[in-house]
């Protein structure tokens, strides 16, 4: 359940930003998470409330931009949607590909007050 330590890192980022801005709390937070980033979205949902309690993120509205995975086949150059790391290229069937999207894991924006 590494999602809780991911939430702890998000809290740390938010607390630093709130302090820098001289604010008190976070009204809303926008996260960008790729579907190949290694995050289980349901585990993140499950752990969020506990992870942010008694922090600046308590009661903050959470927006998650889910970025679907995309890869480029190294054999035939086809760009395709990748749902799992072992998905073959739909064009030529090769497993030899590079991930070009879906590994994102960042805090995009915070609204503080």
């Amino acid at each position: 359940m590494h999602e809780l330590s991911i939430i702890a890192s998000i809290v740390e980022i938010a607390e630093a930003e709130v302090q820098k801005a001289g604010a008190q709390r976070v009204e809303s937070i926008e996260l960008e998470i790729g579907e190949l980033a290694g995050i289980e979205f349901s585990a993140l949902d499950f752990a969020w409330e506990v992870g942010v309690s008694q922090t600046v993120l308590e009661n903050a509205e959470r927006h998650v931009n889910r970025i679907s995975g995309q890869a480029r086949c190294s054999e035939c150059d086809t760009t395709f949607e990748m749902q799992a790391l072992y998905d073959p290229c739909p064009g030529c069937g090769s497993y030899f590909s590079e991930i070009i999207k879906g590994k994102e894991l960042s805090v995009k924006a915070l609204t503080v007050s």
């Binding site: 359940m1 590494h2 809780l4 702890a8 980022i13 604010a23 506990v50 609204t111």
Partner: protein
């Protein structure tokens, strides 16, 4: 409350200590969640921060675009720099519990004794059982107990190295917490990641836990002496792992009988030589 899993334990649950068979000394370290964030400072004078000057009354939107793993990755880079400057080959050993990581290390340390200086960082939730086994081989070892944590992070390794003090040109084995999921996300600054799977596990593990196989450069298939007794296909596990990562190399061995260990030592020496400064 603990920031790792939300349990009722206090935050200081991570412990890191060097094993001294004569004198056992527990040392508390600051857990990741309690470290001051970058940019934070405590002082008693007042000045206006740039961000606060632009602050409209009420709500302010901050476009920060910060990598959530940024702090761990930054610390991992510091570890990496330390390893490079000291010509240390650091390996992050990852696997399920029970794949034989510690047994592999015990045999490796015994066989390489007198040839290559070796240091070990052991990661487990609880106990120093593994570190005690390693210490019995005569190797310097630090045990990290993560408490409820399910993986090692770069700051724990950094802290452990301050106690371990690995020497120039040495090999550093970091045995991660037995877990094929969580350690995949956390760079420790290692030179290479080694995933270990034993033939008593399912040969479809690379597909079930693709993140770990995707991020590893070497896959060790352990306990091959048990192959006649189990339903495990070496070819299948290789094929599945290659679907997930096309750079992974494979070594089949048995830490118990010693079969295949020479190939592992040759790999270690090759990796070490390519990193040693001319």
């Amino acid at each position: 409350m603990c920031g790792i899993c939300g349990c009722g334990q206090p935050d200081g649950a991570v412990t890191i200590r060097k094993i001294d068979l004569k004198k056992v000394n527990f040392g508390k370290v600051t857990p990741l969640g309690a470290v001051s964030p970058l940019g934070h400072h405590d002082h008693d004078h007042h000045h206006v921060h740039a961000a606060a000057m632009n602050q409209a009354p009420g709500k302010t939107v901050l476009q920060i675009e910060q990598d959530i793993l940024g702090k761990n990755n930054l610390l991992a880079e510091r570890n990496k720099g330390f390893f490079e400057a000291k010509n240390i080959l650091a390996l992050n050993l990852v696997s399920s519990p029970g794949s034989g990581k510690t047994a592999l290390l015990e045999r490796t340390l015994a066989d390489l004794k007198g040839e290559i200086p070796c240091f070990v960082i052991e990661g487990d939730q609880q106990t120093s059982n593994d570190a005690d086994r390693i210490a019995a081989t005569g190797a310097e070892v630090v045990q990290i107990n993560t408490g409820k944590g399910c993986h090692l992070e770069a700051d724990m390794v950094n802290e452990a190295m301050r106690q371990l003090k690995p020497t120039d040109g040495s090999l550093l084995f970091i045995e991660n917490v037995g877990n094929l999921v969580c350690p995949a996300m956390f760079d420790l600054g290692e030179g290479a990641r080694v995933v270990i799977i034993s033939v008593t596990e399912g040969d479809d593990k690379p597909l079930k836990y693709p993140d770990m196989f995707h991020s590893s450069q070497l896959c060790i298939i352990n306990k091959i002496d048990l192959l006649p007794y189990v339903n495990f296909s070496v070819e299948k596990v290789k094929e599945y792992a290659k679907r997930v990562s096309h750079i992974t190399e494979f070594i089949e061995l048995s830490a118990t009988t010693g079969a295949g260990m020479d190939e592992w030592y040759a790999w270690l020496k090759k990796q070490r030589n390519t990193r040693l400064a001319p």
